[in-house]
């Protein structure tokens, strides 16, 4: 069905070019595309674009966007910063903008959706601790396209994206050796989780992630406390830790309520209460952790 639609579109496109007596280069570009030769089509369509009258034509922009999309697939599908893809997106949007009747929409939008999906996949496949900046770049490109062609909201995707990002920043926070570096990743993780909670305050991962961040920040302060620190300095560190444990508690508590069978939030609550020297609540959570472990251990 889609193929028929494109064939019809190209027939109309060619008809348009001929009817308008437009330059030869357009017809040649079209012919090249019909033969599957996007490389030659690119030469002709770029030449055609030097004619100002051609640049006012939506179908010409569509053709060029289509040619560049094919070239992107052929040469740069592994290149996150592919200029061929950027050009294709750019041209397709121009085509849509100057096509006042939006008669090209049926063909322009699926192509743009395809390109948006390639950005999304680039984002997802690069969402790891090494390439996450690339993932952010690609995800923003995906959103920028989709915002213009769709009324869908991004809440679900944003939650997935920023939960994953928060997890990556948290990983860096835990492993970074220097306090200054830790602080940077801590702030970034915080921002990522805050974005998720602004969309859905009941998101398990963000609640758990934030609770864990505060908790580990406290542990980190004590870990870095020199053993020969004077008592006032020790007390100051304890004050900070108690404050952080109190900040951690509501997030871990909520994470536990959202996923009562998960052990990790309970383990976190245990740690918070231990740091707060609340032995009663520590024991309650320790018992609960033990129960959950027993329930989840494979039965013999």
């Amino acid at each position: 069905m889609k193929n028929i639609r494109y064939i019809l579109f190209f027939v109309l496109l060619l008809g348009g070019f001929i009817a308008r007596g437009q330059n030869d280069n357009l017809a040649k570009a079209y012919n090249c595309m019909q033969k599957g030769n996007a490389d030659s089509a690119r030469i002709y369509i770029d030449k055609a674009m030097s004619d100002p009258s051609v640049r006012k034509d939506a179908q010409t922009w569509y053709l060029r966007g289509f040619v560049y999309k094919e070239l992107y697939k052929k040469y740069e599908s592994d290149d996150i910063r592919s200029e061929l893809r950027d050009t294709s997106v750019h041209d397709l949007f121009i085509s849509y903008r100057i096509d006042s009747s939006h008669e090209n929409k049926e063909t322009t939008f699926p192509t743009l959706k395809y390109l948006a999906a390639t950005y999304y996949n680039d984002a997802a496949s690069n969402m790891d601790s090494v390439h996450f900046h690339v993932a952010m770049f690609a995800y923003n490109k995906h959103k920028a396209i989709m915002r213009r062609i769709s009324t869908d909201n991004f809440n679900k995707l944003d939650i997935q994206f920023y939960d994953a990002l928060g997890e990556i920043y948290s990983g860096y926070f835990f492993s970074a050796p220097l306090f200054e570096v830790k602080k940077k990743y801590l702030d970034s993780a915080h921002k990522a989780y805050d974005k998720v909670l602004a969309i859905n305050p009941d998101d398990f991962s963000a609640n758990y992630g934030l609770g864990r961040l505060y908790y580990n920040q406290a542990v980190n302060i004590i870990t870095n406390l020199p053993v020969d620190a004077a008592i006032p300095e020790v007390n100051k560190a304890q004050d900070t830790c108690a404050h952080l444990a109190r900040l951690s508690l509501p997030y871990l508590d909520k994470a536990h309520k959202l996923e009562p069978l998960k052990i990790e939030p309970v383990k976190g609550l245990e740690g918070d209460y231990y740091m707060l020297h609340d032995s009663e609540k520590f024991e309650v959570n320790k018992d609960l952790e033990e129960k959950l472990r027993q329930q989840q251990s494979p039965k013999k």
Binding site: S170, R212, Y274
Partner: protein, 173 residues
């Protein structure tokens, strides 16, 4: 044109080893206090010879790990040595002896064993400062703090610095 790409999703794995060692953190605070006590308490001259011995009864692994970090340090010209005793009988000459809460049932026996020595006895159980401990760890405002018993210190011929007195959450004359 090919059909729309298959969209892959962001994988979210809560894979980070989640919670740091809380037992270790609390143990470290206690050891930091103990180290401060070594600087703010004056022992009789015969305790300035040989190693500076910090004894502990049935230390948890976390506490023992933290105490062992002190062996990198010195008190004056004395090396820190950590001894982990299993019972009151095993106790020999120590500058400091710490009875963790879990071993508090041995308090009376330990006090008997330490009679006539200048060992700074540290405990962490409510009421122990009135039962013979010089210093008793307590929790105040969600924090590790300590109470100090002047009379018990004097019985052991320990000279407590004025700054340690002011840092005590409770000072028992």
């Amino acid at each position: 044109m090919k059909k729309l790409l298959t969209v892959i999703s962001f994988s979210l794995l809560l894979s980070i080893n989640a919670f740091g060692q809380f037992e270790q953190s609390v143990a470290k605070i206690k050891v930091a206090f103990i180290y401060n006590f070594t600087r703010l308490v004056e022992w009789p001259a015969d305790y300035h010879q040989g190693d500076f011995v910090i004894g502990v009864i049935n230390a948890s692994p976390a506490l023992l790990t933290e105490l062992n970090t002190l062996t990198q340090k010195v008190s004056g010209n004395q090396r820190f040595v950590i001894k982990n005793f299993k019972s009151a009988e095993e106790i020999d000459k120590c500058n400091i002896l710490f009875i963790p809460e879990a071993s508090n049932n041995l308090l009376a026996e330990v006090i008997k064993k330490l009679h006539g020595t200048s060992t700074l006895l540290i405990t962490e159980f409510e009421g122990d400062a009135k039962k013979g401990a010089v210093i008793n760890f307590i929790v105040k405002d969600n924090k590790q703090a300590f109470e100090l018993n002047k009379a018990n210190a004097e019985k052991c011929h320990l000279n407590i610095s004025s700054s340690l007195r002011t840092l005590a959450a409770v000072y028992i004359e």
